[in-house]
Each structure stands twice: as C-alpha cells, then as structure tokens.
C-alpha cells in the first residue's frame, strides 16, 4: 500500500489526466473496501475511468427526451386501419381493465391521424411527414414500435424511463453510467443536462444521483447566465486574482495536509484544479463561434419560431434553444462527457394535437437529424448512442375529457409506444416490434423499459445485473429486478 503522499500524487495526477468527477475519501475508501478491484489484475489504476464488465461499443450517450409523451401514431407507427375506424367506439373488452388519466370510457371514440406516412432509406422504414429530415437517416436508426411501461402519469412515467423505477430518490441512467464507468472528460462533468421548453414534470429528480454521491448527478447547463451555476468569478475578482487565489488556497491546503495527512485534502486540491479548468472549458464549450456556417445552418441554430400558437412548446425562441442544445450535445460528447440529456417540454398533447405536434416536430426534426449526420461525419456515431424517447405514448382514442368542447388530442398510453436508438453499437435500419391495427397493444417483440435500460448498459459494456449499488441494505440496479438485453438491437 502506498503511503499518503504517494496517494496524493496519484490522486492529483489522476485528476489532471483522467477524470472529471470528484473522487473523495469516500471513493478512495470504497475502493480500498472493494477487494475485488484490488484483487483484479486488470485494475491498474483504481482512479481512472473505470473498466467495464466487457468490451463496450458505446462510450457516450445523448438521450433526447421529448417530455410529455409524443403521439407515436402521428410520428412513427402508421395505423391506416385506425384512420378507417375514426369515430368508432372501442369494444369494452379492450378498455375494461384499463385506467385512463382523463378519457371518459363510456363515450370515447377512436381518432385517426391526418399524417401521411412514407417509406424511407434502404430499409424502407415508414415515418410520418412531420419528420422529413430524420427520414434521411433511417438507415442508422433502430426504431422500436413496441415499447411499454408500467406508468401512465407523467412524473412516475418519467422517473421510470430515467431511473428504471417510478420512485423518487433513485439514480438516473446518466448517474449509473458515470458510477459504473467514470468519465473521460478532462475538464467537464461526466453528466450534463440541457433543457428547452416549458419546464418538466419531473424537474431535477430526472437527473438525480439518488442515493449515490452527488458527483454522479447531472449538471444542468443553463440557457442564460453562466452555463454552469457559479461558474464565473464574483464581481471584482479578476482572472489574475482567481488564479493567484486558487494558488494560495491549494498552497494552504497542502500545508494543512502536512499536518493532518488526510488524503481527502488531496481530493479537495484536485477538485479546485478541475473547477478552475471548468471555468475555461465550459464557456469554450458553449461558444459556437468556431463552428462552421454549414454546421450552424444544418442544425438550424438561427431558425425563428413559426407564428403558430403552441402553449405547450414553451415560450418564444424554442427552435433556436433546441437546435443549440443538439449542437452542444455533440460538443460535449467530443469532449469526453459520458452522458448528455437533451430535454424538451412538452409533448403532452391532450388537445390541439395537430397544430402543436407539428410545431414541436418542426422544432426537433432538423436539429436531431443534423446531430446524427454530424456525429457520423466526425466518426463519433459508432461510439455515441443517440436515443430519442419519452415516458410513454398516446392513445388511439381521442381525448374526450370532461369540459372539452372538441376532441383534438390524445390521452396517455403506456401499453405501446415508439422510441428509436442510433449509433453506439445499435443495428440501424430496422424496425423492432409491432402493434395491433389501432396501436393499442403490442403484438410482436414487446420491450419493457427495464429491457431498454439493460440494453443501454450492455452497449456500454456493463452487465445490468452486476452493476449494483448497496443502499439501505439492498443492492439496487438500474433495471430493478427485471430487464433483458434486446439482442435484435445489437449490431
């Protein structure tokens, strides 16, 4: 075992070269405690980005989360028979055991989709006319039409999709990946969250580290002010002062360390050094001036919002904010960030669906398609998993909520919804799963959220059953007590 000063050297060097997540005494201690790591011959440096269970395909993940539940039969899952049955009642047998958020069962009728679907790419994947840009990338995409979840209310549903259980206080996928693998970013946090739109049902619980230490929690990059809270020096503290001040802090901390010999002080020094680097790296990250004109145009970062009213899409400027976030996601991944959440709220179209879904789709389609192409051109798509998804889907029934004059929207639907994945070891150009003729139930290849999570971890070289965290006497997993890897998704 190394003596303390060596540990400090090691810690410092390591912070400078390999990790951006703070590793404190706690981590150090748990490594000591974790006999397996020390017994394992492969663990050369316990402080580095941690080794996966087996060879990974993906190194980073961009999870685009369309909060509120987009309507799958208007985007991804064409249902010509639903259009024919428009206005008809469903047999009671289908709705008898079903709970709805707002639909009144006795008078609900099916609602067709006005969207036109067309086949695209070599694979012939059918997408709606709301997604013209994405249509060009279908051969990179694995579209799942057979996702299902246990939850039909937003916040529990969002927790389920992010944390694997509909319960507050659990770590999200990004926290699990950073816990399992560490991060390769030298100057930025391993888990970054980008928001646009009107604000999420789940708020900060969606990128929580739950019972894990706070260094695994998502760091929100803001759309205004400092990109990271408290990134800028206080007024009056010049760059020179900051530099000199940090020097003094670290110096005094070292003096203290000579006295108390606590390795935690070495971690503190490393944290300050990393914070200092973040002060440069984060503004550099959000500075798009070095991006080419073609890139900026491809993402559409200067697009104006169309002048249609969309209460749910968020205030003005969403088109720009979302495009910028997609571009930032690529820049984050380029810099070694492990997990990026790109949120937009909301797609909760209980009413005015045709108008507002169009608004949202116009906002999202071009930047997302640009992101896929951009990643591919830069050779990053092979190692970057891109996910497009939400907490659940929407009903084929029109929503006849009490008090609604006209039926112009759909209610929540947990039994079947669509989601797509691309890159990072996912086999593109395929459609997985199938729903019945009206999109009510899955008829082939059901994929539960726990399965989806197991597959994500697999792509990162992690066995979902072995990636555990002990809390309150129990070994917790992202996949709770279920989950199986969806082999069809793997390239």
């Amino acid at each position: 075992m190394k003596i303390a000063s060596d540990i400090i050297q090691l810690t410092r060097r390591d912070f400078l070269t390999s990790t951006a997540s703070g590793l404190g005494l706690l981590a150090l201690a748990s490594l000591f405690r974790d006999e397996k790591l020390l017994a394992s011959e492969s663990a050369a440096s316990p402080f580095g980005a941690k080794p996966p269970h087996f060879a990974p395909k993906a190194k980073a993940c961009i999870f685009i989360f369309m909060e509120g539940a987009p309507s799958q039969m208007d985007l991804f899952d064409p249902k010509p028979e639903l259009n024919e049955l428009d206005g008809q009642k469903l047999p009671d047998s289908l709705t008898k055991e079903v709970r709805f958020a707002f639909i009144r069962k006795e008078s609900a009728v099916l609602m067709g989709s006005p969207r036109k679907f067309q086949k695209h790419g070599q694979c012939g994947m059918e997408l709606s006319d709301l997604l013209p840009h994405l249509a060009a990338s279908v051969d990179d995409i694995a579209l799942i039409r057979s996702m299902h979840t246990d939850q039909f209310n937003h916040h529990p549903g969002q927790l389920m999709m992010n944390c694997g259980v509909p319960i507050f206080g659990r770590p999200s996928i990004g926290a699990w990946l950073n816990y399992g693998l560490g991060t390769e970013s030298k100057n930025l946090p391993g888990y970054v969250v980008l928001n646009a739109g009107r604000g999420l049902s789940g708020g900060a619980s969606l990128w929580s580290s739950g019972f894990m230490p706070s260094n695994y929690q998502g760091v929100v990059f803001r759309n205004q002010g400092d990109p990271v809270l408290n990134l800028s020096n206080p007024p009056g503290i010049t760059a020179e002062m900051q530099h000199y001040g940090l020097d003094t802090i670290n110096n005094l901390n070292r003096l203290r360390h000579q006295h108390v010999r606590d390795p935690e002080i070495a971690s503190r020094i490393a944290s300050y050094e990393l914070a200092f680097r973040m002060q440069t790296a984060a503004p550099e990250l959000i500075d798009l001036s070095k991006e080419s004109k073609e890139t900026l145009e491809a993402y559409g970062v200067d697009r104006e919002d169309p002048k249609i009213k969309s209460d749910r899409g968020g205030g003005p400027g969403q088109f720009r904010a979302f495009a910028r976030n997609c571009l930032l996601a690529r820049r984050l991944v380029e810099r070694g960030v492990r997990f990026v959440n790109v949120y937009h709220a909301s797609w909760d179209h209980h009413s005015n669906l045709d108008v507002e879904l169009k608004f949202n789709a116009q906002m999202a389609d071009q930047p997302i398609a640009a992101l896929l192409k951009d990643l591919k051109q830069r050779g990053l798509l092979d190692t970057t998993l891109v996910v497009w998804g939400s907490e659940f889907g929407r009903t084929p029934l029109g929503e006849n909520r009490s008090g609604y004059k006209k039926i112009t929207g759909r209610d929540h639907h947990p039994f079947a919804f669509s989601l797509w994945m691309a890159g990072g070891g996912v086999k593109g150009g395929q459609v997985i799963g199938e729903t019945d003729e009206i999109g009510w139930h899955i008829v082939r290849d059901p994929i539960h959220i726990n399965d989806f999570h197991a597959t994500i971890l697999h792509l990162f070289g992690l066995d979902h059953a072995r990636l555990t965290y002990r809390f309150q006497g129990r070994d917790f997993r992202l996949t709770d007590v279920a989950g199986r890897v969806v082999e069809k998704l793997l390239a």
Partner: protein
Amino acid sequence: MVLAATVCGAKAAAADAETSVDFKRDVQPLFVERCVSCHGPEKQKGGLRLDRKADALAGGDSGKVIIPGKSRDSLLIRNVSGVDPDNLMPPRGKGEPLTSNQVAILRAWIDSGAPWPDDAIALASAQTQHWAFKVPVRRESPAVKNTDWVRNPIDAFVLARLERESIVPAPEPDRATLIRRLSLDLIGLPPKPEAVAAFITDPNPGAYEALVDRLLASKHFGERWARHWLDLARYADSDGYEKDGVRPYAYLYRDWVINAVNSDVPFDRFTIEQLAGDLLPRATLEQRIATGFHRQTLTNKEGGVDQEEFRCKATVDRLNTTATVWLGLTVGCAECHTHKYDPITQREYYQLYAFFNNASEKDVPAPRQAEIDAYKREKARWDNECDRLSDELSSHWRGDFSAVQAAWESGLSRPRVEWYVLQPAAADALEGTTLKIEGNHVIASGKSPAMDTYEIDFETGLTNITGFRLELFDDADANKGPGRAKNGNFVLSEFKLKVVNAKGESKSVALTNAAADAAQPEHPPANAIDGSNATGWSVNPQTAHGQVIIFETVQALSPEGKLAFSLVQHHGKEHTVARFRILATTSAPPFTADLMPPEIARALAMPATQRPIDLARDVAKFYREEVDPGTLDIKKRIAAHARKRPAEPPTKAAVLAENDQPRKTHIHVRGDFLRKGDEVQPATLSVLHPFQPRGPFPDRLDLAEWLFDPQNPLTSRVTVNHFWKHLFGRGLVATVDDFGTRGEKPTHPELLDWLATEFPRLGWSRKALIRLIVTSSTYRQSSVVRPELGERDPLNGLLARQNRLRLEAEVIRDCHLAVSGLLHDEIGGPSVRPPLPSDLTSIAYANQIKWKNSEGPDKYRRGLYTFMQRTVPYPMLMTFDAPDSNVACTRRERSNTPLQALTLLNDPVFFECAQALGRRVAAMPEADTRQKIRSVFSSCLSREPIQAELDRLVHFHEVQSRLVKNSPATARALTGMSDTEGENFEAATYVALARTLMNLDEFVTRE
C-alpha cells in the same frame, strides 16, 4: 487470507484479530447470506442444501462439493471463485460474486478440515439467531492497562480492543481544535473567537465538560440535531411529483422536532408522539403535530392519477421508513415477496402495513400564537365597524320616509302579472342538508354538504300555469347571502319540475325563457334549465339581498297531480341555497324577474289610503329597507365591509388520524395494490419479541410502544448507532440502515450493547447520551491521520483516532454566515427561499414552481430553514450531498466535487459573506496587517495560523493589494459598495483574503 484482510477494512481487521476461521462466526453467515436462498430449506438447486451439515457434506447432483482439507478440489470453491465463468456461484443476476476475502474464508475453512460443530443450529433458525435479533447484553467494562485514559466505560471497550492490537490511542488535540469540533458537532456553528480564547485559557479542570454543557443548553443544539432527525423523516416543504405543490405549514413539524430536541424529550416519548401522537389519551395539538413525521410522504396531484395508488405508496413508505429508522431493517423487499435474507415474510410485511393502513391524512387548524393575536386584533376592529354600520342603518331607519315613499309610489305602474305563492307539502334533500318548511318558505340547515339536490312537492289547484318564480332569501346574518357557500353564493345547476299523479306516474314539465335579476356572466339563468349539472346559475357578488329567477312553461300547465320540483346544486364547495319559496302564475308571459315580492306589488296596486294597516306597514317597511336610496347606500357599504372579514389564521398542521371504520388490509400480490391477496391483521415481526397490544384491535400506539419494549433488541442499538455516526462519521455498525443478516457486523459489539442498555438507563435522554459520548477520551482523540495504521485499519474501525469529516451542506452555509456576522439566528418559523436565479426554478413542471427570493434577514437564515421544494431542491444543498427528502436518509454521502469548489468560490451568498468579513477586518482600529490577517484567520478556523501559513497570507495580502490598487472600480466591486466608501483598497484586499480562507479544506471540515 492475509492479503485480503489487509485491504478490506474493519470487517477484515476484525477477522484478522483472530487467526483461525470459525464456522459459526465466519462461514455459516456466509452460507446464510449468499447461498441458502437457492440451496436451503425452500429450494435445493442442483440438489444441494447448505443449511444442514449432513446435506452440505453429502453434496448435490454433481457429487460432493466440500472435500474437507482439500479446498483446491472442492467444487464449492471452484464455483464461488469464478475459475470457471460458466459455472459461477451465485449465478449472474442472483447477486454479486463472492469477494476474494469471502472465498478465502471458505478455502481456509475447508483446508482446516471443514469443521461443522453439531451445535451450529440449522439454518431455519440461523437467521433468527442473528446477533441483532437478540436482546443486548450489558457487560462489565473490560480491564485495560492504561487506566488513566479511561474517562468512562466507552473508553474501556475501545481501549481494550486497541490494546489487543497493540495500538496506542491518538493524543488529545489542542483546545482550539476541541472547541471547534464540539461546536460544530453539537450546535453546527463554529465557535466565536472570544469563546475559543476563553476556553483555551480556562484553568478549571472541568472546563471541557462545562463547555459541553453550555453547548447542550444552546438553543442551536436543537437546530443541529433536529436536522439529523429530519434526514430520517424525509422532511420537505412540498408535495413532490409533477405539481409539487407547496406545503406552507410543513415547518410546524420541523419546529416540533427542534423544540423536542432542545427540551430533551426522552427518545421513547419522542418516538411515540411521532408515530402515534394522535392516539394518546387527550392528545394535544403539539402531539398531533408530531405525527407530521409520517406526513412527509409524497403526494401526487398530477391530473388523472389514481389517488388510491399513491395512498398505498405513501403507506408503504411509512412502513419502510419506520422499519429503517427504528429497527434498522430493510423490510421493503417484502412488499413484493418474502425477504430473501432476513426473516420477514410477505404476510408479515402486510401485517405491519396494516398499522399504517388505517391512518388518514388530516390537516387540522394549528394557529400560532402570533397569528391568533393578530387575528383577534383584526377581528375586533372589524366587529366594531360592523356595529357602527348597523347603528348607522338603525338610526337612518328612525327617520321619516312618508314623503319620499309617496314620491316613489307615484312613479310605479300597476303590475300586470299575478304571482301565487305555492305551499310546500314536503321537502327533502338527497345529500344530507336538513330542509324545514316554515310558512311557505323552505329553509336549509344542519350539515352543509359540498353538493346537494333539494326535492320539494306542492299541491296546487291552479290551472293553465304559465310560469314559475323561485325566490331566494338572504340569510339574516350580514355575512351570508342567499347561498350557503362561504361568500354567501350558490349555484343552481338545474331547476327541474315533474308532475306526479296519484298512481306515482311522473311526467317532466319543460321550462323555458329563464330570467333573473342578477347573474354572473359565466353562470347565466339559462344554465339552470340546460339539462347539464355541470353548468348553473349564480349571482356573486350580488349576495347582499335576495334573488329571483323566473321560468315560463313551454305549454300552459294544468297539473293532474302534485308538482315535484328538484333544485340540483352540483357545483361543490357548499354552493347550495339557504332559504327559498316557489310561486306560480297564470298570467300571460313575458315575465320579469322583479325583486319586489308579489304581496307588496298587490298592496301597492291599492290606493295608499285604502290599504289595511298591516299591508301599509309592509309596504312602508319594504320601501324603507329595500328601496330607499339612503338605505341602499348603507347596505352597499355593509356588504363591502362583510367581504373584508379578516381570514381566520390559515395555519394548518398535517397530521395522521385513525379511521373510525378500520380499513381492511390485504396482501398486495407482488406489491400490486390492485391485486388483493389474503386479508391480514396488524401484527409485528415474529422473529422479534412478542407483541402485546392494549386491546383486541392493535393500533399504531401499540406498535410504537412495542419498539420500546425492554425485549426489543433493535431500537436502542440502531438509535445509539445513529448518534455514534454523527459524532464519529461512521457507526459502530457501518451499515446504519441495515442491522439484518446482510449488514455489517459491529466493530465493537460489546460497546454497542453497553450503549444500547445505557441509553434507556439514562431515561432515553438524547443530551445525556451525547454528553456521555463526547466526554469520552475516545471522542477527544486527535483526528490526524495515522499512516502507520493505514494498512491495518484504513477506515479507522478500531477508533484509534477521531475522523476528519467534511461538514454537511447546511453547516457549510451556516459557517459562512456565522463567521461573516451575517447570520440571522432566529429559531424556527416558515421556511425561507435564499435567492436563486429564476431559470433554475423554471426547470420544473410547466414553469409553475414559484421561488420568491426571501428578503431582509430571511436571506441569512441557517441552512436547515431553506425551503425544500422537492422538484427544485436548492442547488448548493444538493451539491454538498444534502438528502433529496424522498426517502429516509440514514447516512449522507460526503462527496468532493468541482461543483463544490465553484460553489464555495463563486456563489453570491458566500461571496457576500467574504465581503462582510473582509470589510469588518479592514475596519479594525489600530491593527497592523499581520494582526488583521490573524484575526480573519482565527475567525474562520478558530485557531492561530502557523508561521508558514501566516507568511503565505502576508504574501497574498501584498500581491492582492497590488492587484486591487489603482482600480477604484475593482475595489467597489470587491467590497460590494457602489459609493466612494467602497473605494477602500484595504477592505477590497481583505475581501479577497477572507474568500481564500473560506475556501480552505479546513473551513469546511470538522477536525
């Protein structure tokens, strides 16, 4: 074995102290914990059982698995060590592989001949023989060599162990360190420099104990130790989930905890009041507020949720939290299936669930004294004005109105429509209102349900009825109007009429052309006959007098039977009618909804001189009270004043209350609340001591008392372990939340048991127990890391020193505020919202979370008063590992991250603290630079700098002065003062110096 033991912490250190492997101590628990769920009494995968000697040694389908003396040839070792990845035990998905240490134990056991004493009890009872399920045994404190070191029995237990290991305890640090440690641990604030100086020079031999007593008596002690408890209580100021509504009075419970801790309410009573305060005889309001412990559960008010689902979730949380906090058991697994590792069946889980299942959530008025006083003052002022207005009206009515009345009468035209009052025969309400018939009026009284439907029958001889008139009367009280809602309003959803003949056959009568004297634009009169209960007619704010609505019959009606009217009032919130009568007419339409009663109209039709005296009086009264402009003016002012009635104190406490009608409890099959299994009755865990309820229907109070049964092996152990953790950074049982078979074993089992028996002996006094611990030599050791023990005891399980601990989030904030002098140290009251940038609060649902930055002194309150909005937790607190308040937090993480560095360096609150401290020091009269630097230093760190530190800071001062000089703008920015006073280069320099010191590791550490 040796290699493994050197690196695996206290547990291994403990094993290392003994040289040989002991079956009962080392091997059997491993089998129990890791193997027997598949190879035991319930399942025998591969034909193997490891819970019984004969079966285990006989082996399974593949033959022998244990070959005594030959671990290398034993299949057991081959499979658990992972040599053959295809045959790994436990299999993938069934648990982590065994650690190398565990494999080493099994190997050593087999190599030593696999001794399996016959008295090693069979596994079925092995779980029940788990150490933590046995009543603690109080042992004499062991003999030690260095008796001088022993201040109390704690030390004897710790030292005996150290002496066995030939380790000398760490020395006591200097007094500056001790007072800082004690202050941070006991009150969560750093000591003031004067207090440090006084303590250092205190010659009294009992100076330390006196300091402890002073701190225990401080009102801030309650804040510090309440916060520890609030972690367990998952305390928050909002509901959680999408809507995350605020709970403005959640603080009542938080303040209850602070007060209880400050007044040292014994832990048994402290517990009983929180779990079952409502069930105590003659429960006081404060005892009911204590039940707020279990009102910290989440509430989901998202549209379209099934409330029963979330009620069940909250109940599950109440049970799991109770088990975690008091029993140190993770019963949660048994929600869906019988516990794999601990002896808790799913049936038992729901028996425990039953205790909480019968509780309902109630919000009871809990006005604070200040509110009551303010309300009484306001109400008295308001009452006075009521009296004055009422006097004004009476004196006005004493005037002579004959001339003005005559002038008014002369302008009236003769009414064309004759209305006949119908005499009600029967009146009945469907939802619980009491209807009385008085003369021709129907009067509602008694219970005031949210909605109701009135059904009134009339007999009439009228034929060719062309219309009906419903008259609603103002209630006598000035505060009320024609409706029973709080504001005197009502909503008439539907006005329906049927004719019922003698055979009981009924026929609906169609009505049309509804008209009223007054109506709210969104509640027009036509709504009362539109066939929908969702709409209605309503009149707010015209509630100061009676109201009238009239209807025409579509066809003239000559009823063959009685008239049966229905007044449907489905708006909710008691929007029902208070008093009314119904009239009919045979005149030709149209009708006007004139407020004048038909009796008066008829009297007015006669010449004034021919009116009988009583009619003349009625007309005069009607004029005086309903028509006269002077009267109407005063009435208008009365109505306006009535609306200003002071609101009763709004504060309500969230409490639990027992249902009168017990709710049945069923097992939820696989934890699904919709799949009901067997019905169960409240009962405790069979593995623990017997349950002796007070009566045949056990309730929460019985459960709470069961926790304090002298036979309860867990409550006291778990609780003293929590206290120990707060004072040493680590529990004697490291898994403070798991005393089950999967938890870690105590590092000092005899000490744990001694403390567990001492706590009740001390009358469950929190203060006495803390005093006992902090006055021990064990606690008083230096925390300087001892590299020579780093390998043997990396986690300091042997307690050969104190631990250095990063401060908790709230305490870091408090230290900044305290040192800067900005702290506003008021105790209790509503939670506050320290300033946050607005975009941070807008991330939550549809930008609906309102975070109104607190102003004035509330900006500088202690961290524990920060409003906990569950979906937008205060970022600084989260960055420093404060709990998210969703489940009980038994142990906070102590991470160390760059975001923490950015927060300490740049958070405006902390910079403001540096500014205040820097300005203060710069203003010290007649001090030179070195003195001032010493002053900032000791303010921040409670000690004098060593020479090297001082030199470094002097140098910093020089450089910083140079950087500030010549830039008044920089100086102004640094001092935070925009005027010329801010152009103080010295102050600006000390601001930067203070900021540096407040960023030191030592500043955020308890040594």
